[in-house]
Structure formats: C-alpha cells, structure tokens
C-alpha cells in the first residue's frame, strides 16, 4: 500500500484511492477553543485598514510575499490595465455577445452595484478595491441556454506591468447562465471578482487561470447567493508564477445551493494557493467542495507548491445546513509540496450533515501495477490514473469545448515530465 506522505491541519492525509475519511478530527464545536481564522476575520474596502503582511500572519503564512511584486505593501503602482471582452460561445465558436437580456458595461468607482458580492478581507483585495479606476459589470437578466455560454476573457496587463481589476457578474432574479471566465496573459494583477446571484437564479461558472509563466494574480472571489439560488463554481488553475484565489461564499437567504469544484496542476516553481471560506450564516443552505490538485516539481529546481485552505463555518443561525468538503492532491514527482488544511466550525447541532476530507499522496503504485498487469504500458497507465483523478471535476464542466481544452492541458502537463 502507498504510505501517507503528509499530514496537515485538521485534515488527514492518505494516499489517493484510500477511503475518504468521514470523521472530523478538525471539527471545532462551540465548547472547544476558538482558533479559527474567521474569529479574527476583518473586512474593509480601505487598504489602509489592513496591516502590511509580514508573512507570519495566518492569512499569508504560505504565500511567498517577495513574489507579489509589491501588491501587498503598497509599493505596486497601476501602470497597466486588464483587457476584458465578453462574447457568446466558447473557443472557436465564440461570437459577438447575443441575448437581449445580457449586457457588458464599463463603470466608474461610484457605481452603486459594486460591493453587492462582498467586502475585501485581506490587504491585497483591499488594495485592488482602493486602486481600480474602472470596473466591468456583466449582467444577465434572462435564462440563457446552456448551448450559449458566455465567455468573459480577462487579459493581463503585459510583462512587467501591474493592474488592479474589478469585475462583477450579476444574475438577476431567476436568470440562468453558463459562463467561462478565462484569464490569460502576462503581468501582475490584483483583483476582486463579484458573483452576485439573485433569488432563484442559477450560475454555472468556470474560472480558468491559464496565465503565462511570469504572471502573478491575487484575486478575491465574492460569491453572493440569493434565496434558492444555485451556483456551480469551478476553479481551474494551470498557469502563472503565482496564483492566489480566495473565494468567499456569502449566503444571503435560505435555500442557497453552492458547489465549488477546483482543479489545479502546479509545475516546478509555481505557487498556486486557494483559500476558501464557506460562510453558512442562514438556514437550509447546501455546500459541496471538491478540489483536486496535481503537482510535479523538477529535480534541483524550486518546488511546485500548492496550498488549499478550506474553511467552512456553520453559524448558530444556520440550522439545516448540509455541507461537505474534500481536497485531494496527487504528487507526481519529488520536489513538490501540497499543503491542505480543511477547517470546519459548527456552532449549531441542528444540521443535516457536515464533513470534510483531505488526502495527499504519491502516485498509487498498486493502481499502476494493476493496469500494467493487464498489459498497459507504464506511461499510458499513469495517464489513465491522472485523467481518472481529474475526471470527476472535468466531467461536471458543461462546456464541451472547454472540457476538451482542460483534458488537452492536462495531457500537455504530463508530457512535460514524460509521464
């Protein structure tokens, strides 16, 4: 059997394929000491309200601050801007924006809608908020067909340049849309992205970070979930020097249903960090989190590093909550490090269910042996296993052309190390 290779935080760590742990060593009940970060959680639109992080803070302890190009300490200046385009369709099939109820506006800082999604909770997000000059607002006020996904492309400011970005995606009452939010290009970006999903609306969004090798992107995602609203958010991180994403789920009324999926693939030297907060503050909401990552370092180089923090808070008022979160990491080579810290804090016992699991392991030699014992060559067997590992996440992506692109991207990653 494969050996556990790491153990982190409240989660347990076992080999992939091992039974998912269903007990919750990390659960903190009302009676246990309160150490969770949200007890100290502070939010503000004003960058000066936050201390400059030094690296020891819980929020920043995993992030290599030196690689942030001054986003965190006020020394970065906005000398570039992001390019945003909104189209109908995805990939080669994308065309001009269609749909009478869908529009894209560029607005100023004073637009009253900005901030509906949530408030920055760290200094870089507040810096982005304090510094942006124009915001993009994409509003959907219709039930769009699944066959007409929206593609919002965000292009970086270019190598050596820095941009502060603000983007809001709004789904009005009972609207529906499938959206691909595609990030590409070079440069340094700090951003707030708001997903404001009104009562009864349904958003399926795939947020892709496929940046160039030099790029640094630090983004806060504010997801606001209306009454009986549904959000399927899939986060895909494939490229960039450093990508740090902090999605926060704010349930505004009962009946919200959120699934957060994630897929990340870090090569040598890359730092991909995901910090999730699912804040169950109202009754009868559901959340499911499933993030999967693969890592492959290069011998002698800087390690591939991924960080996954999954904070789930069930507040006293949130009776009837149903939540489960899972993070799995697959270490394909040496010189790779995956930190995985699930936290679950429960302030009421009147819930449907709550659980979490975390597993980080090396390639499962037993799976490899089994496939090879049927004649399948080693390289192909490894690919089958990695594809299978990510399959659960990719299968849920509703845009076929995007599924193809993600599968091709994973194949290309595997080619790099000759797996």
């Amino acid at each position: 059997m494969t050996q556990p290779v790491a153990q982190t935080g409240g989660g347990t760590t076992t080999a992939p394929g091992a039974p998912v742990l269903d007990v919750d060593p990390g659960i903190k009940t009302a009676g246990s000491p309160k150490l969770a970060p949200w007890e100290l959680r502070f939010t503000s639109y004003d960058v000066e309200a936050f201390e400059v992080p030094r690296g020891r803070e819980e929020q920043w302890r995993f992030t290599p601050l030196r690689r942030l190009h001054g986003l965190h300490d006020g020394s970065a200046s906005a000398d570039g801007r992001i390019e945003v385009s909104v189209r109908t369709g995805f990939g080669d099939a994308a065309g001009d924006l269609t749909g009478s109820g869908t529009r894209h506006e560029t607005v100023g800082r004073d637009d009253a809608r900005l901030g509906d999604g949530g408030i920055p909770a760290d200094r870089v997000a507040a810096q982005a908020w304090s510094s942006f000059t124009e915001a993009h607002v994409v509003t959907v006020n219709e039930a769009r067909s699944d066959d007409e996904p929206l593609t919002i492309t965000v292009g970086g400011p270019g190598a050596g340049a820095t941009a502060f970005a603000h983007l809001q995606l709004r789904l009005e009452h009972h609207a529906q849309a499938v959206v691909v939010l595609d990030h590409r290009g070079s440069g340094t970006v700090a951003a707030n992205t708001e997903f404001v999903v009104a009562d009864g609306a349904k958003l399926e969004v795939v947020e892709v970070h496929d940046w160039a090798d030099d790029a640094v992107y630090v983004g806060a995602q504010h997801l606001s979930v209306g009454r009986d609203a549904t959000i399927r958010h899939t986060s895909v991180t494939l490229g960039g020097d450093l990508v740090r994403l902090s999605p926060v789920i704010n349930y505004r009324a009962p009946g919200g249903d959120v699934e957060l999926d994630g897929l990340y693939f870090a090569d040598g030297g890359q730092h991909f960090e995901q910090r999730l907060l699912v804040d169950h503050s109202v009754p009868n909401c559901r959340s499911r989190v499933m993030y999967k990552g693969a890592l492959q370092g290069v011998e002698g180089g800087t390690a591939a590093h991924t960080v996954w923090i999954g904070d789930v808070l069930i507040r006293k008022a949130a009776e009837g909550t149903d939540t489960y979160e899972l993070n799995r990491n697959l270490l394909l080579t040496d010189n790779a490090r995956a930190d995985s810290v699930p936290n679950l804090e429960i302030e009421t016992g009147e819930i449907v269910g709550a659980g979490h699991a975390s597993a980080t392991g090396r390639f499962d030699d037993e799976q490899l042996f089994y496939l090879m014992a049927r004649g399948i060559p080693e390289a192909q067997a490894r690919r089958l296993v990695v594809r299978g590992f990510f399959g659960e996440v990719i299968q849920k992506v509703r845009v076929p052309a995007l599924r193809d692109r993600l599968e091709a991207a994973i194949e290309a990653e595997l080619e790099v190390v000759g797996v």
Partner: protein
C-alpha cells in the same frame, strides 16, 4: 503450446526487521491445456508466488528462474509479462477511480493484442463476455472495481482473462469471499475460457470447494514457501479429509503478509 516453468524460485520481501524469505525454492511446470491447483494454508506463500510471477515490485527474486516458452519472464516489466501471455487474476483487485471499466478493458485489449480491436466487434465481444459472467452491462461505465462487491470484482477478473486471452493464467484465490452462486458463475467463466483456448491454469486456493467446479489435472500442496507434495486430483480429496496437518507438521509454516 505454451509452457510456464518455475525453477528453484526464491523470493523475499522487505519487512521492518529486514528482508524476509517467503519462497524457498519453488519448482513447477504448467503446460497449455493443464490446470494445476496450488493448495496451502494461510501464510504458506501462495499469493507471493502469484505476485512474483506477475512482477509486483514488492517482491524481490533472489534466486531461480521463471520462463514462459523459454523466455525469461523475470527480465520483463509487468506490462511486458502481460503482453507475453501471462495473466494474474488478483485476490484483491485494485480500485482505479475515474477510469471506466470499458476504457480500461479496451486499453488492455489494445495493448495485449497489439492493435485496437475494431469497435463494432469489440462492443459485441465485451457484451457477450459480460453476459456469460452475469455482469450487468451498466458496470462498463463504472470506475474500475470502485465500489464493487467481492463477487463483482472476481467476476471482472475472469472477464478480463476471457478478453485478454492469456496463454497462462494464474488465479489467486479467485474463490475467496464468493457465495455458492457467485462461485458457480465464476467457475463457469473459467471453464468456458478453458474450453475455447489452450490456456494453462495455475489455480491458487485455500479450499477444495472450487475444485468441484474447476477440475484440476494436478494438485500441489504448498507449505512454507515451496511445493511439499504433488499428485493427481485425489490429493485434493485427501486434503479435504485431513487438512494440511500432515504437511505443515513436516515442514512448519509461519505467517506471511498478504499483499493488499
């Protein structure tokens, strides 16, 4: 006509207290159209023999030979052994999440046959083989072995054998954990493949029960890492009657870790 020859095979496994010898000089020859039963108490090294033939990395061969039609099997990688015509039906088939049974079977058939089977013919072939083993067609779209019951896993092992068409098949405790109905279905599948091919079978088992369904030509008693006695089918009857006592007493046996 194929022959698997095992000559003076010594195998050891790494333990916390250093390497430990499990196989201590196994000699055995299996020809096409022959079924050999290997019977022995728990811990005698039966499974180690099976996994060593297949090339599991946990086991180190320290001495001896395994030859398939004169070719040195021990020099081959795991996948090469399978492509050369060896098959191991495992006692504990491994779950591979996210890889569908149909994708897996097709990949394996493509590898062992040297070319991708024609789609129309292949679909029919798989359906027929599944139906013979009373496997619900829905299993084709499930992940390999994931959430399968013990019996379902064993049926799928036999399914793979019948599709990959090995020259020599090692069945490692294929009967363990099966109820009578499942045992009947699995045995029928093995007999079916025997009748359609020239396969030579090495049937490893702890109990004589399966031998009522799959008739052995030769029976070997395996104790303490080697073959302690060989004979015809009547030897199985004697074991049924008297157990392993006589052989264990003579050779002594100690516990062996089963590979998981």
């Amino acid at each position: 006509m194929s022959t698997l020859e095992i000559r003076d095979l010594h195998v050891e496994v790494e333990t916390e207290s250093g390497p430990k010898e499990i196989l201590r000089g196994v000699d055995l020859t299996v020809n096409s159209n022959e079924t050999h039963a290997i019977m022995g108490p728990n811990g005698s090294g039966k499974s180690t023999l099976a996994y060593s033939i297949a090339g599991h990395p946990k086991y180190t061969v320290t001495k001896g030979q395994v030859l398939l039609d004169g070719e040195d099997v021990l020099e081959m990688a795991v996948d090469e052994r399978a492509r050369a015509g060896l098959f191991l039906a495992m006692q504990y088939p491994v779950e591979v999440p996210g890889v569908s049974m149909s994708n897996f079977l097709r990949s394996a058939a493509t590898a062992t046959r040297g070319e991708a089977p024609k789609v129309r013919h292949w679909v029919k072939e798989v359906k027929g083989a599944m139906s013979d083993l009373e496997i619900d067609p829905a299993f084709a779209e499930r992940s390999v072995n994931e959430g399968f019951s013990g019996g379902e896993k064993k049926r799928h092992e036999v399914l793979q054998m019948s599709l990959l068409k090995p020259k020599i098949a090692v069945l490692d405790e294929t009967d363990s954990g099966l109820d009578v109905d499942a045992l009947r279905v699995v045995s029928k599948g093995v007999n079916e493949y025997k009748s359609q091919s020239d396969v030579g079978i090495l049937l490893i088992t702890h109990y004589t029960r399966i031998l009522r369904y799959i008739a052995p030509d030769r029976v070997h008693v395996f104790v303490n890492g080697r073959v302690a006695a060989s004979g015809g089918p009547e030897l199985a009857d004697e074991l049924e009657e008297n157990g392993y006592e006589r052989f264990v007493g003579a050779f002594g046996a100690d516990k062996e870790e089963q590979p998981a």
